[in-house]
Amino acid sequence: MSVTNLLDNWAAVRHFHPIDDKPHDPYKWAMAIDLDACIGCNACAVACYAENNLPVVGREKFKHGQVMHWMRIERYWEEDGRDFPDQGFQFLPMMCQQCEAAPCETVCPVGATNHTQDGLNSQIYNRCIGSRYCSANCPFKVRYFNWYDYPTTENVWPAEMNYQLNPDVTVRGKGVMEKCTFCVQRLRAAEVTAKGEGRIVREGEVQTACQQSCPTGAISFGNLVDPESRVHKQWQAQQVDLDKDAQEKNQKEGGTDLRGYRILEELRSYPSVMYLERVRESAV
């Protein structure tokens, strides 16, 4: 997305995806998360802190809802009059869904968040003016705003702790919105390497930080347009289509025996993350 594109035809740009005049080629990064494998252990969330220079805000700011976890684990249980959550919890890792027609993109007054050709919802910190419209418009509430200048806030990165900061990721200052990037620094590095070798990124060549750490392998990530990728196979097996707001399989008589679904897809934001429903044993 360049400034000329913005000026030329803003409307065309913002409706760019998933309208098929320019299909994703050769990349469309997407994810599939198996909620039956997710155990809610938080390894992904900590991996995200480590990879993406997320500040630790402390108790007081956490209380005010200013926590900066790009990846959070939501958890639910059945409360239908039972004494105990006797069928366990449902954990759901929630991060930016990298919508194809992202509601956040259309409302940014300065074009700081926009779509990339490989299907990511980019957030450009140096362009952001902190209007927070994007956050207000995000149905998943996965955008986080820097209310403070964390690099200079006491005990966020005191001496030596800052040695851990990832040089490939900008440390955000005050007044900027941020969110999950699908570890874009890793993607770009892999893409650029592949480009130099005249090929596309192979399946398994790039992992997001959360995927890499997940002990149960609940998260798979890859190139949705590559028929060899696990994500592609999963989406296909679950009959979830990127460019539909209501999946055909759900409209069949008698429901479906497939687990794949996308959160709030009826809002037509076309998320790039497919979840697989949690399974519970019917015999106990």
Binding site: V3, L120, N126, G175, V184, K195, D226
Partner: protein, 243 residues
């Protein structure tokens, strides 16, 4: 970004946008003395002209043709640039590796200084000449791959796009504005791309993605320049440099 920077940033962005728009398909404007970076005082006044300058053509004070430049490839010392985002600084070992075998200049003040650092096993505190804001990640490796390795352009010409005629300098001085608008002005130009094979796919490209080389907005669209060469613009994805 600091709050007080926001407005100037928007303003600058807007002006840049207008500027870039007007500048489409034009050469970036020639740099003037105002665009030059400051003269940077380095701990050792390293003579680039001596190392990289052309043989016999460097205008040396004593005009002795035997003491011309040595035409050393930029990448001989700046070896990290082709392998990393960052060009880095050659390790001291690199300097000494040659200079311990050049007794003729060993007692020159700059070389004496060099060996002082070496004997103390202390790195030379060079000053940074080309500084970018912390949110910019320029990729040296990619540019070298694209223009030197794939297209076979001369090294000094390619490095010179951004660094100017370093081979004529002693210590380097910034020659180009190195602003985003300046970067983008080049990315918006049509650049010749490597020869296509019989399927119209650029050499090294893959059938899966005809745009293997252009995964950003500008598909080459089979545009050809007057010489009949396939051309394409550079990528213009914000997230390539800002992330």
């Amino acid at each position: 970004m600091h709050r007080y920077l926001c407005f100037p940033a928007i303003l600058a962005g807007f002006l840049m946008a207008v500027g870039c728009y007007a500048a489409t398909d034009q050469q970036p404007t020639l740099t003037t003395e105002d665009d030059l970076g400051p003269q940077v005082q380095q701990p050792i006044e390293f003579p680039h002209y001596r190392h990289a300058g052309n043989r016999n053509t460097v205008d040396l004070t004593n005009s002795d043709p035997t003491k011309g430049g040595m035409e050393i490839n930029c990448q001989y010392c700046h070896t990290y640039a082709r392998r990393s985002l960052t060009a880095g600084i050659p390790p001291l070992q690199k300097c000494v590796g040659c200079h311990q075998n050049i007794p003729s200049v060993r007692d020159k003040p700059r070389i004496v200084e060099l060996f002082k650092y070496w004997d103390a096993k202390k790195a030379i505190p060079w000053k940074k000449v080309h500084d970018l804001p912390d949110f910019v990640r320029f990729n040296h490796e990619r540019h070298i791959k694209r223009f030197i390795e794939q297209q076979g352009r001369p090294v000094q010409e390619v490095c010179g796009y951004c660094h100017g005629q370093v081979k004529e300098m002693t210590t380097a001085r910034r020659q180009k504005p190195i602003t985003m608008g300046w970067c983008v002005s080049c990315h918006m130009k049509e650049h010749v791309v490597v020869v296509a094979n019989k399927d119209g796919i650029p050499e090294g490209g893959t059938p899966l993605g005809k745009q293997a080389y252009w995964y950003t907005f500008q598909k080459p669209a089979e545009t050809k320049n007057a010489a009949g060469e396939l051309t394409a613009k550079g990528p213009n994805d914000c997230w390539l440099c800002h992330k």
